[in-house]
Symmetry: D2
Subunit: 424 residues, 4 copies
């Protein structure tokens, strides 16, 4: 960032803003007002809420700090605050599906209004300010996180409907090629992980620090549907000895028999996808499994999940290529793991396709300090009873991911595009 | 019905069908697709569901019995069946709010399609058939019940929104005149109650039968907001001795302090209405109280609730006039209890304004037999842990109500337009 | 009570007091301190609590009103108050099983202490006071109600133990004789029901009042296990059309397949009894069914349940004989429905054996006024969402029951000794 | 263990067995059969169950493997299995409080029977077998863990009683001396932690492995009640910014205002102890706090919790001295944190007094393999959503603890004797 002129920097940020905000709009194009209203479980938010909340972010943290700013609607500060105590009270998360107003049209208008004001800001002298630029970038990363949630959440909403409506039309997909489980070796040693430097990264990705790792191996490929079916056929969901105690309790309570969205119809497995119901393809990476399932599968396979340090060491120098949402949409392909890849490196699909559960609970890195104020609420306060996932998925944008990127979810979560890579 | 010609009968039914179905449409006019999607609690159904279910009723019980009938959409039989085991499986009631498809437009199309087919049926020779005519009438009464639910349910949906959106614009209402509690006397004796004759009535309104009543008195007016505030101010919600044991538990569990939709803002009571938030008017009938509250109020007032037999004896010969939804809409008035009345009889507002809780658990009349098949599921199976309400409300159509009409809700229900009339 | 002298009256009451209090002690003889500590569901109370609460009753309402009274332990007023808001706060009912102190020994000491003081009171001049006598009688009736609860509750406690421990040893029972369903006719007419006169009765049994009844028939016998098995074998628990809607929901939620305490072992039904597990005997009255099951059985049998007025009219002039707890214990027989009877009247087992569910919701009789103060909390406040049962059971004392006696439980309750008699 | 003769080894184990088993008996001496029956929350087990389960352990894993063994009672295998799927089905944990039989006497008899058979085994040639000796040691460690649970669980049971009964009589305690927060420094470096060698340790304490630590400081003393009161007085429980998101939710849901067992009476804090209610003493270590509270306190204090590696490095070479249950009982002192200590090292009370929450989620060490069979269920399957605690407490036996010992509980658990030591 040091060698470019001020003007180019500003123009770049304007372009980035427009591109990312428009991609949100593109993702909502297939959805009706009714689709955008429903909250199918407490973890899911209505699409309308995502559209408003990401806009609220720019309004709250940038526009409203201008001296002469008049809120688009003063109620929105409360309605669309997700979890920032620093900003004020929040409308209760599990009740987001109870709000029919403001309607979808009103929210699009809200977005247009904020986008105009943001365009003005980004064209002004203020755009040269470091702090402003940093918050804009944070807002855009935040928007990309919610783009992914729009996809994961609407998939869950539509899956509750016995009509199995499709989000977008099925495209013919070239079948992924069959894979064998090969292993790549890594030596023991004192490594460094975590983010350093001036490029954007979330606070939880740093500080960069030393970790000692024993030698380990990482599988070339994520676990496939075919491999996972062997686990199921071998009684995987009926054998307590394969599971963590809490995992086994979850399996029994919810009567899990297979990954989320798999359904047994006419005596064969099918899965609900964003293209509606479809047959399973053994070569595709298995998706929508919880940490519990990932862990049990690994135990069954005589392996384990990688730690996040192992994963990051392996990923550090690889190109960030793979099946990402923005790439797939551009190609008119279905947003679904398993599109063919062309990378010829040993570690296939490390980026994109499916988020990979690691064995690491989500904790602060040594020396981590949550930022003061609202930013401190972004990541740090969630460091409890969650596990780290790495690498992004087919619902993530390619421009959003980094080798140091730490995603996190509770071990029972399955509605994300989450899969498994083995280590040992 | 005996003296009219066949042709007139048929024409009348066609008109009635059109009028009632159009009124449903009129009631939905102020609602957005988002409004029509939300289920704010298990008792509430989304407007879209009401629109489809009432249409399903005609399709299932009339159209689909024609030999050559092709379903509008074969999934609808399952999706829009409320509780008829005889017809088949039902989509779970508490999950009606999870369905975004079919969308509102598709459901309007469904209604138009069924209406055209019904018009054809009603113009055909089949319309002379007694059984056909009876089911059409049942379907229209059913539609009117759901019109009322559309209003009560959307009121609940909108009330969950901190923006307090209005269903329709506030109109200036002439204030109801102040009332004194006077009593009308009735003698002891063996009375007859229940429906008899050929006019339409639900199965639960018969058979007509004898009951012995001690002498009793009935209040001239329903309990007003002003009277109810005295109860509140006298610690009504803090004194267990005034309440049924189950009622007191409900008060404590839900921390009830006032009727549903009352809210304490800036140190004065306001209530949410279909016109948004508004001040209380002491002269209006109190509304949205549970049986528990009605019973506790009566005990506090040194009186009791009337039995349904007492109520019916009192109502038997009175004209069915009052503030009803169809009348109010015609006059452009707000759907809210309390519009002025002109009847000069002793018992004011017996019909319309608010449903009146009676002291009678909802039980079968002596000799009652539930009809065979699906009709038997309409009323009989709900005769447990519910109380009878009488007289209709401002959300009921005038053409829907009868002196023998038995409405019923559990004692904790408050989202209906339910009020209190005292007896002793 | 009019012709006896004061002295005899007093002596009688002393004897009655001793007899009834000692019977409580006798009922607890087979129980260990551990047995007496457990609360197996919120409806159940630990035996220790029953022992203390019945004693608390005499202390609170008689002894503590003496000017110089010193409480046995001042904490007991709070600990052992069941539901009398008038007396003060109550230790929460569902937490009675959390108290290990005062221990069983301490509670026996409490009983002895209160018994001594009561003996003194009953031997004093105060015993001539009408109000004192009335409260003593109430306290003894209350004690008898809790004797029955000691039996029903400990049955539930022991049934939770996979060892199926017996409360008392099995005795050989002569088998009840087979029964045919015959019907006894009653004419229509204006009848009088309810308690009148000076003998003891609860407030809810009056006032005596007129009811008009259509002609009806009552079955000679309660429904037997054999008859109930036909209902089960005919798919009774799988056919929604036989059930009230709330009943069907309960069946599905709890997966009911048979009466409480029946268990399918080694491919045949057995039932848990106070003598442990035992085979079913077809001739015995079916027991431990809910109102929902009683009602569904009646519908399946083409009959209905009697109203409480019908039941009382039929029972009014019959001798109060049958299988009661005090009789069975005296004979060393098991406390279980089905011992042979010798009455030669048409209506068999109307009293004793099993409580008979009626079709009548538990409501106040016309003109009923709950007494002022604590007595008003005994019965009146429970008149909601419960059904009346009549006639007493094998767990009731013969000296406790009357034709006008109204027992009441919610429609889903099954842990009482409750059965079915048909009407039509 | 290498230099002693076979005979001494065996004699030592016999003594150890007797000593530890008798200590269990000693701990139960103040408890009545009623006390031993109650399960006050799902995490708590009745004392009777602990007595039986620890005995079951020796019977199942040692005695029953002898060819001619006859079970004391064949039902016990099921009743007293805690969570070993490998052994067979388990009686549901939350229902342990529903069992009144076998009674306390029967369970003492069970213990005596097993103890006699164990004495015979330990005196036989079999006692020389490595595997046998290892399981005996495991069983004794297991017994010591349940001794601690007997204390923590009965404290919870008794605390539910509004009479606040004492487990044992209060002894006069010399007051702990005031402490200042000083810090001890540790250098960065590659350290080794985890168990190695032949002495007994649980599988989760190994393998010994290298970890890289940044330099850090550890507080000389555990956080005191006085310090914790400052946190409370400074609004600690009202300020979301101090808490993990899940912690704040827990505070709000349960309305936490102070550590467990603190109660606000007559306007001053008191705490329930095993000696009944008592005043707070500012110098004592704060106890019965959750991980959430420990973490929030640390944030408020501008510090953090130590990782388990940091804690172990600090503890590695210190003598295992402190206030432990076996020591306190021997001295007739109350089982309560805070008795004076005499150690003159910098790190005070590192062992004993209170378990110290670490910042480390409970995860497997690198290279950890759960043992095959039942032993694999002892520790490994619980490695999810729990945090490690170190050092033992006043309810732990001194002979039970090691520097490598890893205790673990969920972050919301408070009924253990758990406290806080700061790091930074």
């Amino acid at each position: 960032m040091h060698s470019t002129t001020q003007h180019t920097l500003t123009a770049d940020l304007q372009t980035e803003y427009r591109t990312i905000r428009q991609f949100t709009q593109q993702l909502c194009q297939p959805l009706s007002p009714e689709d955008c209203t429903i909250q199918s479980m407490p973890d899911v938010s209505p699409t309308r809420w995502h559209l408003a909340h990401t806009t609220w972010f720019f309004e709250t943290f940038l526009l409203s700090r201008q001296s002469d700013y008049r809120a688009f609607d003063p109620h929105y500060e409360y309605l669309f605050n997700s979890y920032y105590h620093t900003v004020g009270k929040q409308f209760p998360r599990p009740q987001r599906g109870l709000l029919s107003r403001p309607g979808l049209d009103a929210i699009w208008e809200y977005r247009r209004d904020v986008d105009q004001k943001m365009a003005k800001l980004l064209a002004s002298d203020n755009a040269a300010d470091q702090e402003v630029r940093r918050i804009v970038q944070l807002g855009l990363q935040h928007e990309q996180q919610h783009q992914e949630l729009i996809l994961t959440d609407i998939k869950h909403v539509l899956s509750c409907n016995p009509l199995f409506p499709a989000y977008h039309a099925a495209t013919t997909q070239a079948v992924a090629t069959a894979v064998a489980t090969d292993w790549l070796d890594f030596d023991e040693g004192l490594y460094e992980i975590g983010h350093a430097g001036d490029d954007f990264a979330f606070d939880n990705e740093g500080p960069r620090h030393r970790v000692f790792l024993e030698s380990f191996q990482l599988a070339h490929h994520p676990v496939t549907i075919g491999q996972y079916r062997e686990f199921i056929d071998d009684g995987g969901y009926q054998r307590p000895e394969l599971w963590l105690s809490l995992g086994w309790q979850t399996v029994c309570d919810h009567r899990w028999q297979a990954p989320l969205y798999w359904t047994d119809r006419d005596d064969r497995w099918q899965q609900f996808t964003l293209c509606g119901l479809s047959d399973l393809r053994d070569e595709d990476p298995v998706c929508h499994v919880s940490y519990f399932e990932a862990d049990a599968f690994a135990r069954w396979a005589g392996a384990r999940l990688p730690t996040e340090a192992e994963w990051e060491v392996a990923a550090a120098d690889l190109p960030i290529e793979g099946n990402f949402a923005d790439r797939l949409v551009l190609r008119g392909a279905a947003i679904q793991p398993g599109a063919p890849t062309t990378t010829d490196q040993a570690l296939q699909r490390l980026f994109g396709d499916v988020w990979e559960w690691t064995a690491s609970p989500y904790t602060p890195y040594p020396g981590y300090q949550a930022p003061q104020g609202a930013w401190g609420e972004y990541n740090g306060k969630f460091m409890c009873n969650q596990y780290v996932l790495r690498g992004g998925s087919c619902a993530t944008s390619q421009t959003h991911i980094r080798p140091t990127y730490r995603n996190f979810f509770p071990p029972e979560a399955r509605w994300q595009f989450s899969g498994v890579r083995l280590a040992r």
